[in-house]
Amino acid sequence: MDYEMWAEKYRPHSLDEMVNQTEIVERLKSFVEAKNVPHCIFAGPPGTGKTTAALCLAHDLYGSGYREHLMELNASDERGINVVRETVKTFARTRTVGEIPFKLLILDEADNMTGDAQQALRRTMERFTETARFILIANYSGKIIEPIQSRCAPFRFTSLSRENTINWLLTICQKEKVEVLEDGMEAILEISEGDLRRVTNTLQAAASMGKPIDAEAVYSVVGRANPTDVRRMIALALKGDFLGARERLREMILKYGVAGSDIIRQIHLEVFRLEIPEKWKIKLMETIGETDFRLVQGADEEVQLSALLAKLTEAGSSIRRGD
């Protein structure tokens, strides 16, 4: 039997198949109809269909041979000015044969490009507008320099609704003949945050265990970015064992490659479940929010998160003293 990652297997191929972002999809369809596409920025959280929308657009625009008219670059893998200059230029310079006179260039994770690279990109975009259109994909459009933003049509992708996510999951379950129990579904929704890639990967990993999927299976999958691990880490910090907590954190990040953003997301969830005075939960939230923001800005994950653990340690000792 052939296997793929389900997130790929069930990735929509045409704009018509997309289950969400209806407004965006409508606008993109009008581009297809007009056979013209401006430069675009697709911004939004992970797993909301940005890359999919770009690929679908290309498919609908050029037909099944769309790969020939399309170049997909990932700024994280191919960063730097030279790559942008050379690869992009070579691709953008040549005219395509066919009905549509321009090629499509998808630049994923564009918010990871350095300022200099973006400047170079801006010039390239300008020079080759006739022969190439750019779709920049980013989590945060704020990290794209102003001159590029002003040349692009902005599209803001939003997290998937609960309903959309459930429908999506049920479709896959049916096709893959997988059974998800009710608490399993709830658990997936809880950790999903509207991120369809995460949801699909979680489902597939849980299904690989070969049993109907319950909450326990889901949590053990999220395992490697495990709520119990985060819970354990928080418990250690609150108890006053900062060093123990930092040790856990370090292990998660360095050994298991858990993303800082996943850890902070789970800390955020866990704090509300803690048995500590309510006012402390809000006090902590301020620090958690600030830490989250700093991680987004690209700060050192372990350093920032351990500063947060120090706050938890202090909170623990204040609470014990009855403050």
């Binding site: 793929e4 990652m5 893998d77 690989s208 970015a225 370090r250």
Partner: protein, 391 residues
């Protein structure tokens, strides 16, 4: 290399013995370790065809021992009528009361010697040598300039057929702060049996040897009372800020145990890190000063409730783990590339967002794993890694 003047002085002084015993019967060579003091004497003796009688620290234990060898050697000429040169090396090695007589005995011999004596030590102004010093011609050996050491190392590389990166050599030279001997030793240790030397090959030396300097800086950060003092210690030490950050970050929770102090210290470090990111993203290096301020003075002022007590410093665990997991991270990013090719994500996103799930599948479901391995075009080592690791 370097120290041309010192060599000339020494040579002139030895030559002056031809015209009768000079006023100063001994020459005292001093200077930092590894700048070629002993080597110069040996080379001169060779060039000038002198018989060299060489002794070092272990021979100076007692006055008797000194008299025994140096006394005799200094009073009689050589068998064949040639000239003789006595070299007393490692004078710093004379320690403790038992050796007191040793220095005195040497002084006596210097007063009456019939052939030139050369004494060698790092610190001629050590009080133990105060009397002896008066009878000696003082010759200072200085640290050679870095470029001179560089030239020397390059010459060795050419002779040994080693192709070395300029950067690698510069690193060795800087690390050893003008000590030629240890520079050459490092070069030999690192380049032995290979024909190439890159910066990467040598960079790991950094953390090992700078430990003492780092400890000094840490002491002033965790125990000093004023911001300026803490900042100055860092300026003076010229340690790499990133490396220093790791040391402070590792040690802060051990040194500042009170939760209140801990929060302050970790906050300062987080701020330092934030500015470090700003330096990176704006390439405005002027901002580096705030990084330094927060990680030194910021951490220093955090001590309010933790009483100062001596707690030994620890090596940054994170650095150890990072180098320990280097292979693993290499493997992860290789798999990440494979995933990226299929799943329209960067290898970075793949490592964090897909690989963990893949791992679970590989542990639980061999059939699905095999299918995915084929689909992703993973090689044997990658499959092994995904199935085996982290039990």
């Amino acid at each position: 290399m370097g120290n041309r003047e010192a060599l000339q002085t020494l040579k002139d002084w030895i030559n002056s013995w031809d015209k009768g015993v000079p006023r100063k019967r001994a020459a005292f060579l001093y200077g930092p370790p590894g700048v070629g003091k002993t080597l110069s004497v040996e080379a001169l003796a060779n060039d000038m065809n002198l018989e060299l009688v060489e002794k070092n620290a272990s021979d100076y234990r007692t006055a008797e021992a000194v008299k025994d060898f140096a006394g005799r050697a200094s009073q009689y000429s050589t068998l064949f009528g040639g000239k003789r040169l006595i070299l007393l090396d490692e004078m710093d090695g004379i320690t403790g009361t038992a050796d007191q007589g040793g220095v005195r005995a040497i002084t006596e011999i210097v007063k009456s010697t019939q052939c030139p004596i050369v004494l060698v030590a790092n610190d001629v102004y050590d009080p133990r040598f105060s009397t002896l010093r008066g009878y000696c011609l003082l010759v200072e050996f200085k640290k050679p300039a870095p470029y001179e050491v560089m030239r020397h190392l390059k010459r060795i590389c050419v002779r040994e057929g080693i192709e070395a990166e300029e950067k690698a050599l510069r690193f060795i030279v800087e690390k050893n702060g003008g000590d030629v001997r240890s520079s050459v030793n490092d070069l030999q240790a690192l380049a032995q049996g290979r024909d190439k030397l890159t910066h990467q090959d040598v960079a790991w030396l950094a953390s090992r040897d700078r430990k003492e300097i780092i400890f000094d800086v840490l002491r002033s950060i965790f125990y000093s009372k004023s911001c300026l003092e803490a900042k100055r210690a860092v300026d003076a030490a010229e340690v790499d800020p990133d490396m220093l950050f790791e040391w402070i970050y590792e040690n802060a929770p051990h040194q500042l145990r009170d939760p209140h102090d801990l929060v302050e210290a970790m906050d300062s470090l987080a701020l330092a890190d934030l500015y470090r990111g700003r330096v990176q993203s704006t390439q405005n290096w002027a901002l580096l000063r705030y990084v330094l301020d927060f990680m030194t003075a910021g951490v220093m002022t955090s001590r309010e409730r933790t009483r100062p007590e001596w707690i030994p410093f620890r090596f940054p665990e994170r650095i150890r783990m990072l180098s320990g997991t280097k292979w693993e991270r290499g493997m992860q990013s290789a798999i990440g590339m494979k995933i990226g090719r299929k799943c329209h994500v960067s290898s970075r996103v793949a490592v964090k967002g897909v690989l963990p799930y893949l791992r679970i599948i590989f542990e639980n479901n061999p059939e699905m794993a095999a299918g995915l391995a084929k689909w992703l075009d993973l090689d044997e080592a990658m499959i092994e890694y995904l199935t085996g690791v982290q039990q």
